[in-house]
């Protein structure tokens, strides 16, 4: 390790804009499009300073026309550019899904590999701040379900940089989800653990690889985005109060899902709880548990899912925080698991 390298603790938002700037500097084919990404620098701070630095031929403030500009990004990508597009909230995908799942995700396949689609679709996910069910969803499973796209979500700034560089350099459409509760915007609460050291060097976090972010022997806690932090908090409590050592896995890439890393951990621990803040049914947690079942891994207790129930995300904090997965629910599920025998 280079001891001369200074520790640079920074937010995901600042890190994303820094990664974008460095990649725009390196690769002239990278352009950025979206609503409020120019002068404002992105509602969630992902594109700060890009317009001033790269000008209006590289940074496009678009009208509120998601079908139009995401469709245009598909055409740009097919023509050899590398557009990075922001869809402000994942909840807005309903107005532009054709451009995403019928055009971007099928361009390589329907062309038999003649035409690729190297584009990044950045989009915010997550609730917990009283914005209600049209601005708080996660929809991991929706995007993870559809073939032809890669889907990533960082849980911290270090990974945000590495995943962003990998996403821009990928030859395929990559949906880059970022969780609002981790973003580091002054007007949103931010989980402290998301603010990490971000090396200045050029590095990628490989797409398709999950990470073991805490080693343990007694139970595997699987999370992504903010729920990684719920898992880590629960693991600390389990260690401190129960003498139970949890292993925590950060999924990082929803598609293609790194089943091997998860299965290897569950083979070791024999217990699992999967925590995601998307809707429960037909969801990512169910997919992870199905993979464990298919692998025939014997479990010492039934697998646990902690997900948002099958209801729209409510507005009132009294309602929202009663249903939104958190560290306490994660801890309760883990205790249920370690206290039970199957």
């Amino acid at each position: 390790m280079n001891t001369a390298t200074a520790i640079r603790k920074q937010t995901i938002a600042k890190t994303m804009s820094e990664a974008l700037a460095s990649e725009m500097e390196r690769d002239p084919s990278v352009v950025v499009l979206g609503e409020d990404i120019g002068k404002l620098g992105g509602v969630f701070g992902n594109t700060g300073g890009l317009l001033e630095r790269f000008g209006t031929d590289r940074v496009f403030d678009t009208p509120i026309s998601e079908t139009g500009f995401i469709g245009a990004a598909v055409g740009m990508a097919g023509a050899g550019m590398r557009p990075v597009v922001e869809l402000m909230f994942v909840d807005f995908f309903g107005v532009c899904m054709d451009a995403i799942y019928n055009l971007a995700a099928k361009q390589a396949y329907f062309s038999g590999g003649q035409v690729s689609c190297p584009m990044v679709l950045m989009t915010s996910v997550g609730g917990g701040y009283g914005d209600a069910g049209q601005h708080s969803q996660c929809l991991y499973a929706t995007f993870g379900h559809l073939p032809g796209m890669k889907v990533v979500i960082p849980s911290n700034a270090h990974d945000a940089k590495g995943l962003m560089l990998a996403a821009i350099r990928d030859a395929n459409p990559v949906v880059f989800m970022f969780h609002k509760a981790l973003q580091g915007m002054g007007w949103l609460g931010t989980v402290a653990g998301s603010i990490t050291d971000v090396p200045e060097s050029d590095y990628e976090v490989p797409i398709g690889k999950a990470g073991v972010v805490r080693e343990g022997t007694d139970i595997t806690l699987v999370g992504l985005g903010i729920t990684v932090h719920h898992c880590l908090a629960a693991a600390d409590a389990l260690s401190r109060e129960d003498g139970v050592e949890a292993e925590v896995i950060d999924i990082r890439t929803i598609a293609p899902l790194d089943r091997e890393t998860i299965l290897a951990s569950v083979r070791k621990t024999g217990r699992v709880a999967v925590v995601d803040d998307d809707y429960l049914s037909c969801g990512l947690a169910g997919e992870v548990i199905a993979s464990i079942a298919e692998a025939g891994i014997p479990l010492a207790s039934p697998p646990q899912r902690v997900s948002h129930p099958d209801i729209p995300i409510p507005f009132s904090p009294a309602l929202e925080h009663a249903v939104l997965p958190n560290a306490e629910m994660t801890l309760a599920a883990a205790r249920q698991s370690v206290g039970e025998r199957s």
Partner: protein, 333 residues
């Protein structure tokens, strides 16, 4: 038209004839295995089949001005535009037959034809080719090239949100984009008159501060003139245009369509004004040699015969290939 021996007129004639011959060859092939009881899944060409006969002038009048580096996105009814853009006819036929030698090895079929060598693509979703065409146009503009992009749509697509979003964006960005509406009067079974608030979609261009030109008569020469102006304008960096062409769909929405929604006698009236024989008569009247037209017709038929022989002679794809090309490999750089 007074000038007689313009090479582009012969090119347009030959490509219209080639497109018609291609679709005339599809018709019996499509019904193989689908009689006596029609079953879309059966035969060497399964799935929906949308023929473009009657609409050939829209393809040739515009594409006569295009180069390989220009982009065309077409619709679920793409054969005429693909042929006029120079898509490889053998591989296109093989794709329609679902063969391994097809443009995408049988992954796409007739609604999803891609030929990167001539920048041609199409989509089965109404109006959704417009966004990618806009993107290709912007890629050309940002690189300082004078290449343009053409988005073909039907008149029904002008009532889609994507149409309005892309029209506005193209104008805001002064993109070298030409949107061509092929108005064949019907969205599947619903007539334009019954579902569109104005009689001319070209008038919608005014809402987006771009030229909107209406072309009547399904006439290749008239379309050629109008498209030439719009494409030259786009190449000069003066921005997008909308061209609305009144054309006719000589068949149903898809093969097997009973067309009960058409007024009595409409199809006969349309066939009486089939643009290809009319154009042939005009070329002869303008002094072109019948032997020259016959040579065009022979070349077109030979190309189609060769393409169908290539398709039928090609193997079906290895089922394992269904799992490839989902993702592109990463390219260095």
């Amino acid at each position: 038209m007074s000038i007689t021996n313009q090479p582009h007129r012969l090119w347009m004639y030959e490509n219209m004839v080639k497109s018609r011959a291609f679709e005339d060859a599809i018709k019996p092939a499509y019904f193989e295995g689908k009689t006596p009881r029609f079953n879309m899944a059966k035969g060497p060409i399964p799935g929906e089949m949308h023929l473009s006969d009657g609409q050939e002038p829209c393809a040739v009048g515009v594409c006569a001005h295009l180069r390989a580096g220009d982009t065309v996105t077409a619709t679920h009814r793409p054969h005429h535009a693909a042929i006029a853009k120079g898509v490889d006819l053998d591989r296109m036929a093989a794709e329609i037959f679902g063969r391994e030698t097809g443009l995408s090895g049988g992954r796409g079929g007739h609604m999803h034809l891609f030929d990167a060598s001539v920048n041609f693509a199409c989509s089965g979703i109404i109006a959704q080719g417009m966004g990618p065409a806009l993107g290709a146009a912007m890629a050309a503009k940002l690189r300082g090239s004078d290449a343009v992009a053409v988005a073909y749509i039907g008149e029904g697509a002008a009532n889609q949100g994507a149409f309005h979003e892309v029209m506005n964006l193209a104008s805001v960005w002064r993109a070298p984009l030409i949107v061509v509406i092929e108005d064949n009067g019907y969205g599947v079974s619903v007539s334009k008159a019954s579902c569109t608030a104005l009689s001319r979609n070209a008038d919608r261009a005014a809402a987006y501060a771009m030229p909107g030109i209406h072309v009547a008569g399904n006439d290749p020469d008239a379309i050629y003139e109008v498209a030439g102006d719009a494409i030259a304008r786009a190449r000069r960096g003066e921005g997008p245009s909308l061209i609305e062409i009144e054309t006719s769909r000589l068949e149903g929405h898809f093969m097997g369509d009973q067309e009960g929604y058409r007024p009595d006698g409409e199809k006969d009236r349309l066939k009486a004004i089939d643009p290809i024989p009319r154009y042939r008569e005009r070329l002869l009247a303008d002094g072109l040699d019948a032997a020259e037209l016959a040579a065009c017709e022979n070349r077109a038929q030979q190309a189609v015969d060769a393409a169908f022989a290539f398709a039928r002679g090609s193997a079906l794809p290895d089922p394992a290939s269904a799992f490839t090309s989902v993702f592109a490999e990463r390219t260095p750089g």
